[in-house]
Amino acid sequence: MWNTLANVGWAVSAAFALWMLYDLFKIDSTYDEATLTSSREGEIEAVSEKHKV
């Protein structure tokens, strides 16, 4: 049973790895780099935490 599970595990791993790579390339080719890397640190602070004591 465990051997079968491990063999199925290889197949499942390969499927998920391919899905991630496919999605990564799809996203990278659909959106421009500036959009994908537009996240900035401190946005929470700027929006909700004013740090006024």
Binding site: A34, T35, S39, G42, E45, K50, H51, V53
Partner: protein, 466 residues
């Protein structure tokens, strides 16, 4: 026309999703750590005996309570992905931040590696002779890749899963504890026979010091809660609450685990087994309990690996966002709102380490990076309180008895370095040399690409004395 053309070029903002609550923070912290009760802590018994493992359980509890308190104060104020990396950047400086981020990535990646090896070892122990290296590696690959895909798909789903499997693994310890009738010593548990005045500390107090090395494993990773800072709805409330609740949960779990295992196994065996709680389940003679602990061991390891993938990817992502590494790593998935490139990038690295290293080596690398990181935290909080004294900025949580927790943390870290040096001196030296070399690379080469003004994002007043 010109305005419309300009608008089409303005990038749409994509950032991490703020969807988590205190329960997710708890699931992240306890999920990463709980595997330490299922394996790892017991190697402390090999170093110093069963009583040393208990002393270390509580002394390390003190170290990690200090970590949790310090972390809660700083993170509830510096609420950004990257956790301690963002703290170091704002409070100490870029070089420290770069090193801290590497500590984080190494600690969590090697912990993820350890967890995948543990799952494979656990299954192998039941699978028999026909379970070859191909099957063993198949289990490792499944754990790492499937969990990476789960993390890729979204943080909410990933930590919901973690909450459920962590709770099940924790409940298994509680069920085992009550099943062995702890109120009736001699029925199942035989603490008086297993731990005697002659064998409680077989190597004396130097054995207790040596046991510090593996004692870290009781709680290693609770500080990982801070990596969720940018994805929780209310960082100032959720992070301290989730981290403290997690620490209380773990202190109880660690004490129960020691009591069960110490009462069922002699220290010579307890110190070398890879599966102390699973063995405890077997020793009760109850097949249901054994099966429950088998499943719980795997769930604990999976929960830990899941949390580690989450944390390592966020630390790596933060480095890219500040240009400490190529900005390519700072991309956020526009649909799933996760640092998808960082998640995918770390997958082959984890698999490569898991295929070539053994459990002891992987755990030691993780512990070393963790202790370096805790040493930084003790210095960091002193600088934080000096530069921005109470009242100068808003804090989500203020930890009591300052600077006592910082001093305790620093002293315990020094003892732990000595303990690691006793057992793994070569690895300790090699790792310190590695961090020195990459620090030189960062200082003389990489820092020229960093936009220096952009990396400091907190709207704080100037630090005191500047």
């Amino acid at each position: 026309m010109a305005i419309a053309e300009y608008a089409s070029h303005v990038p749409q903002k994509v950032s991490l999703s703020r969807v988590l609550g205190p329960a997710h923070v708890w699931a992240l912290g306890v999920g990463i750590v709980l595997v330490g009760e299922y394996t790892g802590w017991n190697f402390a018994a090999d170093k110093g005996g069963t009583l040393a493992a208990l002393i270390i359980c509580w002394v390390m509890g003190l170290l990690y309570t200090s970590v949790a308190m310090i972390d809660s104060e700083v993170t509830s104020t510096v609420a950004a992905a990257g956790g301690q990396y963002a703290q170091a950047k704002h409070i100490v400086g870029p070089l420290m931040a770069f090193n801290v981020a590497l500590y984080l990535v190494f600690a969590y990646t090697m912990l993820e590696v350890s967890n995948s090896i543990l799952v494979a070892d656990t299954i192998k122990s039941y699978a028999g002779e026909s379970f070859t290296a191909w099957h063993y590696n198949g289990i490792i690959a499944t754990v790492i890749v499937v969990l990476a895909a789960l993390n890729y798909r979204g943080v909410l789903m990933s930590l919901n899963v973690n909450f459920v499997i962590t709770a099940v693994a924790y409940l298994a310890i509680i069920v085992l504890f009550f099943s062995v009738q702890p109120w009736s010593q001699g029925t199942v548990l035989k603490l008086g026979e297993m731990v005697t005045p002659q064998n409680a500390l077989p190597y004396g107090w130097i054995g207790v010091v040596a046991a510090f090395h593996w004692g870290v494993w009781y709680y290693l990773g609770i500080e990982g809660t801070t990596q969720a800072a940018e994805e929780v709805r209310s960082p100032a409330r959720s992070l301290p609450y989730g981290t403290m609740a997690g620490m209380i949960t773990l202190l109880i779990g660690a004490s129960l685990t020691w009591y069960i295992c110490a009462s069922l196994m002699p220290w010579q065996y307890l110190g070398i087994t890879y599966f102390p709680l699973l063995d405890a389940g077997k020793l009760t003679g109850n097949k249901t309990l054994e099966t429950m602990m088998f499943v719980a061991t795997i769930l604990a390891a999976v929960a830990s690996a899941n949390g580690c993938i989450n944390d390592a990817a966020r630390a790596w992502f933060s480095l890219g966002r500040d240009r400490y590494l190529p900005t390519w790593f700072s991309a956020v998935h526009p649909k799933y709102r996760t640092p998808y490139r960082s998640i995918v990038f770390l997958v082959p690295i984890a698999i490569a380490f898991a295929f070539v290293s053994n459990l002891g080596q992987a755990i030691t690398f993780s512990i070393l990076s963790g202790v370096l990181h805790y040493t930084f935290m003790s210095i960091n909080i002193i600088m934080f309180r000096n530069k921005w004294p109470l009242g100068s900025i808003r804090r989500g949580y203020i930890h009591p008895f300052h600077p006592l927790p910082a001093i305790v943390l620093f002293m315990l870290c020094c003892v732990t370095y000595f303990a690691i040096f006793l057992g793994y001196g070569a690895q300790l030296t090699a790792m310190v040399v590695f961090y020195m070399v990459v620090s030189l690379w960062f200082h003389f080469y990489r820092y020229q690409y960093v936009k220096r003004g952009d990396q400091f994002t907190m709207p704080w007043p100037k630090p005191k004395g500047y």
